[in-house]
């Protein structure tokens, strides 16, 4: 009986706080922790009659199966290339946009531009799909009907044209994310001490010098944190962008299929539980290792910028 006493005392003392946490705690168990144990599906040959626990273990067979397909190479390549592209392009556009927004002297205009660049962030992937379709529709789309004839080119069936999609998705992603990210950098720039710029002006530094010698070094910590957070998630993609915008077109899979959409398709269309959970687990583990290593690197470079 004795060892229980401190526990009971603790429970009594913190009863209210513990009760407050209960809903969130239970939700996290349901939504996050039970699925973590569900990763055993990747090592089993799931048979509905026997249930998850009763099904036979198959070891790494599901993984062997996955990596022996052509899909594995394509989805890993696409995921990595798209995300690296997104990180670099977003960085250039959003930092540039933030610096330019900060240079505007007309505050009313600056607010208006800010509102507009943030707008795409509010749109769902479904709406993105519509906006892109208005340009790319084979029959009446703006590109096929107006732009290409004007350039003297033949209309194309864009939703069958796999080669075009890396560019299309890059443009769409930049259109959607750059403005939102730029506001985060803008907030960092506004927070900088004005005295540096006054001193630089006295020394005759031009705008470019001010940017490269003051602004950039001072917001570097924010840039590094934001970028590394994205690098840590490089194995995960924006599912909506890759599923809704190409309108789930099968002939585009070569260039639009990423790990997230593959897992979804393998689960819903093929019902292949083993292989899709193997792909999902592979993604989670690589993501986990990446986040830990990225954080380790940041801690080495500058401790206070580490994510944890």
């Amino acid at each position: 009986m004795k060892p229980h006493k401190p526990i009971r005392k603790f429970l009594e003392k913190n009863k209210v706080l513990l009760l407050m946490m209960l809903p969130g705690f239970l939700y996290l168990i349901l939504n996050n922790y039970i699925p973590m144990f569900g990763v055993i599906i990747a090592f089993k040959n799931i048979n509905y009659a026997q249930g998850i626990l009763g099904s036979d273990w198959v070891g790494f067979k599901n993984f062997e199966f996955l990596f022996n397909t052509n899909d594995a190479y394509i989805i890993i390549r696409n995921t990595l290339l798209y995300n690296s592209g997104f990180i670099i392009i977003n960085l250039i556009f959003s930092v540039g946009l933030a610096v330019l927004l900060n240079e505007l002297r007309n505050k009313l205009a600056a607010r208006f531009y800010q509102s507009v660049v943030l707008l795409p962030h509010l749109f769902s992937a479904v709406i993105l799909g519509y906006l892109v379709f208005a340009f790319l529709s084979a029959d009446y789309g703006y590109l096929n009907h107006k732009v290409l004839p004007w350039l003297g080119l033949e209309p194309m069936n864009w939703y069958n044209e796999a080669k075009a999609w890396p560019y299309i998705l890059m443009i769409v992603n930049t259109w959607k994310s750059a403005g939102y990210l730029s506001i985060i950098y803008l907030a960092a720039i506004i927070g900088l001490d004005k005295e540096y710029y006054e001193a630089a002006l006295i020394d005759g530094a031009n705008k470019w010098k001010q940017f490269s010698r003051i602004t950039l070094p001072l917001i570097a910590p924010v840039i590094i944190t934001m970028t590394l957070m994205q690098v840590g998630r490089i194995f995960f993609s924006d599912f909506g962008l890759f599923y809704q915008v190409p309108m789930n077109s099968g002939s585009l899979l070569q260039t639009t299929n990423v790990i997230d959409t593959y897992v979804y398709r393998a689960l819903i269309n093929m019902g292949d539980l083993g292989m899709s959970s193997a792909a999902g687990l592979f993604q989670s583990i690589v993501g986990f290792v990446l986040i830990l290593s990225v954080n380790l690197i940041v801690r080495k470079v500058s401790k206070e910028n580490a994510l944890f």
Partner: protein, 296 residues
């Protein structure tokens, strides 16, 4: 003088850059709006264009005939958004408060309990199995509210940081006055935390309003189609919207649809609420992002 002239020139150039940017951002939205207001026959001839060649409200009057389905979808989305946002804010704030208290002995454990969910997840398949086998949410409003969106680990940690930065003297004096923890949370902490509640509330509202993924994987009964899902179905298959009606004269109805313009009108109907709510959103969005960035 010279400096002034030079800098006003650069200001003009800046404005030109931004106006170009504004045009690029608004272009697709205007294109969609213009198509929805066009006459179908003029589209057959000259395709989609930025200014309606022949103005027509036919698409909207068609959608109005078919309003039962659309209004139903609006109702589903609206209820899910309101219920989901309120519950998720409550749970987030309830969980964040104890782990913000230095006196709470298990705060490190419970913080890590949240944090780990950001680092590692089981993946889509086990997650899907939990929601279909363990708790069967298929074809219910619960499927649109419960999964994934209810609480994100980041939100909890952002709120915890905000709570931690409130002066601890507040807590002490309230405790001396005899207030319990729950009362302190409700009557002192929450009223002081409106900025962070607004920011996270807005992000949750957006997430629920824009969600289509949960519909895609959990919903097959049309009773629970959300607005985004109806929009998605319409984009992929324009006939979807009229098939929904399930009336006897479906085929004659089908023949009368101005398909191209109705499709885009559906998009406008879906974009509408977001754009209308935007001025209200925008203030908090910029504020919230600033708070988040300063913290980061």
């Amino acid at each position: 003088m010279r400096v002034n002239k030079k800098s006003s020139l650069s200001q003009i150039m800046l404005h030109i850059v931004f106006i170009l940017g504004v045009i690029i951002i608004l272009m697709p939205v205007i294109l969609v709006l213009s198509v929805s207001l066009s006459d179908e026959s003029s589209i057959f001839v000259s395709g989609y264009s930025f200014i309606p060649e022949k103005f027509s409200l036919a698409a909207y009057s068609f959608l109005w005939q078919d309003r039962v389905n659309i209004l139903h979808a609006y109702g589903v989305t609206l209820s899910v958004t309101i219920i989901g946002t309120v519950i998720s804010l409550l749970i987030t704030a309830l969980y964040a408060y104890p782990i913000s208290r230095h006196e709470f002995p298990l705060r490190n454990f419970f913080s890590f309990f949240v944090f780990f969910t950001i680092l590692f997840g089981g993946g889509l398949v086990p997650w899907y199995m939990v929601y279909t086998n363990l708790v069967n949410v298929k074809d219910s409003l619960l499927a649109l509210i419960l999964p994934g969106l209810l609480m994100s680990g980041f939100n909890v940690l952002i709120m915890r940081t905000f709570f931690q930065n409130l002066p601890s003297a507040l807590n002490e004096s309230a405790t001396i006055d005899g207030a319990g923890e729950f009362r302190i949370w409700w009557q002192i902490i929450l009223p002081l935390s409106l900025p962070v509640l607004a920011t996270i509330g807005l992000f949750n509202t957006l997430a629920f309003w824009n969600d289509w993924f949960n519909s895609l994987i959990f919903i097959s009964d049309s009773k629970f189609y959300s607005l985004q899902y109806v929009m998605q179905k319409t984009l992929m298959d324009i006939q979807f919207i009229s098939q929904q009606s399930g009336t006897g004269n479906a085929s004659s109805l089908l023949a009368s649809i101005p398909t191209e313009t109705v499709r885009m009108a559906m998009a406008v109907v879906g974009i509408g609420p977001i754009v209308l709510a935007y001025p209200f959103f925008q203030r908090y969005l910029v504020q919230g992002l600033t708070v988040g960035a300063v913290k980061g």
